[in-house]
């Protein structure tokens, strides 16, 4: 483990989660090396979002361990996990609707710049926070919407803001939960370009339904079916894997929007 810790961004060891008597995640073991772009795919109800919630501390685990860059983060609350460099987005847009676009990003920046719970700084005077937030606004192409209340943005803009908040802290492990869900073709292309740009030099774990996005973006793919990873491999080999074809790709022709 100690040698692997230097090269692994994320290690999931026999993760299990049950809601009541119903097992949702049934023993997921997965290693994501540093700087890999890793996609998790699977049919509706496979437990992809639940897996994200378990890793990011939203739900407590039933059993298993989660390690982030070698450190055990099992059972930590979300904010402690976030401070250790893992940042995630949500499938259902999860922003600060009454704050401006700029302030949404700035909220994501403050902790990582060390301002913590400070009441002895005035935010408008924090040059580093402003510069970082403005840089992110440029990256997500929302600079022209800077002072708009975030709740008033269009759907695609809110999705871009969602990614912006997620990367604002400069976390080196980024988890995106269906970043392109509900987007048009051209919006999806923009989003993929954005994700590619912001995950440069970082580790990316992404849940995605759009197969063209997955095969375009991912270095490796894990296929989750009924709470178990049935295969983890390169896109080409996943495509050729008969078990995967049977369990998942055979049904992928029909457009899906799962809310698992």
């Amino acid at each position: 483990m100690s040698s692997a810790a230097n090269t692994l961004a994320l290690e999931l060891v026999d993760l299990q989660k049950s809601f009541g008597v119903t097992p949702i995640i049934r023993g997921v073991t997965l290693d994501v090396p540093l700087y890999e772009r890793h996609a998790i795919i699977g049919p509706n109800g496979a437990g992809k979002s639940t897996l994200f919630h378990l890793i990011s501390g939203r739900f407590p685990l039933t059993s298993g361990r989660v390690r982030l860059k070698g450190e055990d983060i099992t059972g930590m609350p979300p904010y402690l996990i976030n401070r250790r460099g893992l940042s995630r987005s949500f499938q259902v847009t999860n922003i600060f609707p009454r704050l401006s676009v700029y302030e949404n990003i700035r909220c994501g920046v403050l902790w990582s710049l060390g301002y913590r719970y400070s009441f002895w700084h005035l935010v408008e005077r924090l040059r580093d926070a402003r510069e970082r937030a403005e840089l992110i606004l440029e990256q997500i192409h929302l600079a022209h919407r800077r002072d708009v209340q975030a709740g008033l943005l269009s759907y695609a803009e809110q999705r871009a803001l969602e990614i912006g908040i997620t990367i604002a802290s400069g976390a080196d492990v980024i988890m995106l939960d269906e970043p392109t869900a509900g987007m048009s073709r051209s919006e999806t292309e923009h989003a993929v370009a954005l994700i590619r740009r912001v995950s440069e030099g970082k580790t990316l774990v992404v849940v995605e339904h759009d197969m063209s996005v997955v095969f375009d973006l991912a270095d490796r793919i894990s296929v989750l079916v009924y709470g178990e990873v049935i295969a983890t491999d390169t896109p080409e080999r996943i495509r050729a894997n008969p078990a995967v074809q049977e369990a998942y790709l055979g049904t992928a022709a029909a457009p899906e929007h799962d809310h698992a």
Binding site: R58, N82, I95, L110, Y117
Partner: protein, 417 residues
Amino acid sequence: MSLIGRYAPWIGAAVALIALPHVFSSGASLTMMSLMGFAIIFALSYNMLLGQTGMLSFGHAVYYGLGGFITAHALNVIGAGKLPVPLPLLPLVGGLAGLSFAILFGWVSTKRAGTVFAMISLGVGELVAACSLILRGFFGGEGGISTNRTATLQLFGYNFGPQIQVYYLIAAWCLVCAAAMYAFTRTPIGRMCNAVRDNPERAEYVGYSTQMVRYIAFCVSGLFAGVAGGLAAIHYEIVTASVVGAAPSGFVLLMTYIGGVAYFIGPIIGAVLMTALQISLSDYTGAWQLYVGLMFIVVVMYAPGGLAGLLLMHRPLARAGTLTRLLPSYGLAAVPALMVFAGAVLLIETSYHLLVQASEGPNIHALWISYDATSPAAWAGIVALLAIGFVAFRRTWPIVSNEWNEATLETRRRLGQ
């Protein structure tokens, strides 16, 4: 914004606070302005929770009241021991007391938000109110704790006996506290309070413990509530157990909400208005609390932004110069609105007279008219006033709303949005 532009409102407020006693110099108005001063601090501290952090507290008077008691006790200790402490520092004692109790009680109550927090705040409020009847040594029982503000170290010959000196003491603290609370909203923790209010879950995913953010907001809010309580103790020179009870906790909620929780200035407007109403209205009618309650209901239902919200929604129109076109329609709707208002006042006053003051005979004097409260004609008049006013208001309101929409469109065009 230029430096002068940024500080202009504060300089203006300071000038106004200095000038006010020269305009309203009677003893009654000095007293009222003193009450407004600590009501403003109290309401602003409450809005740190409600408006800024999204925490509904039903027990904020605990920190105000305990701040008051500790200040009174401190004053008595200072007076008895002839300790060299000047009076202007005493509100700080109240603030530290409020802060200490907030640190203690907040640790439990801020673990959760929403309904759980509201219920715990209610519970803590009841707990302290119950203690106030049991711990007679500290709370002084029925008589409360009396004190003497003049028995402190005198600086520059001010003994704070005259009300005008107390007014300036309160005004200075009010300005300093308001500025400090405004500054707090511009700090990283202040901004994260807003973020926690908007979306606590997401706040946890940008590295912030929502519990810690709420706890800090609660403690700072308790500090300022304690300062307000300390000033109240200095003003009244007596603190009774009723200040930690449910009534003042409810009243600060009313003040803040009616003023407008979404704006920093809202609680200030609310505190000034409600203090004025509390004092002047109670001279005119015994049913004044009913009016306050009705006003609260009307604001909650029709103006959730409070009075500050109503005022500030006109700001872009004033800037674009489209406000004047609204005035005729406002004037038109004001007539039936006043009719409904007058009808409602007469209805309440007449009923109150018959139900509560029946022993004084049937003759009543309300809204500058004298009449017989039992006469059918008077009742018919009241009902007619209400009915006609209501129907006419329903007719004129669409005109207002139409004019409003057109003025808003015109404003957008002129401001180029």
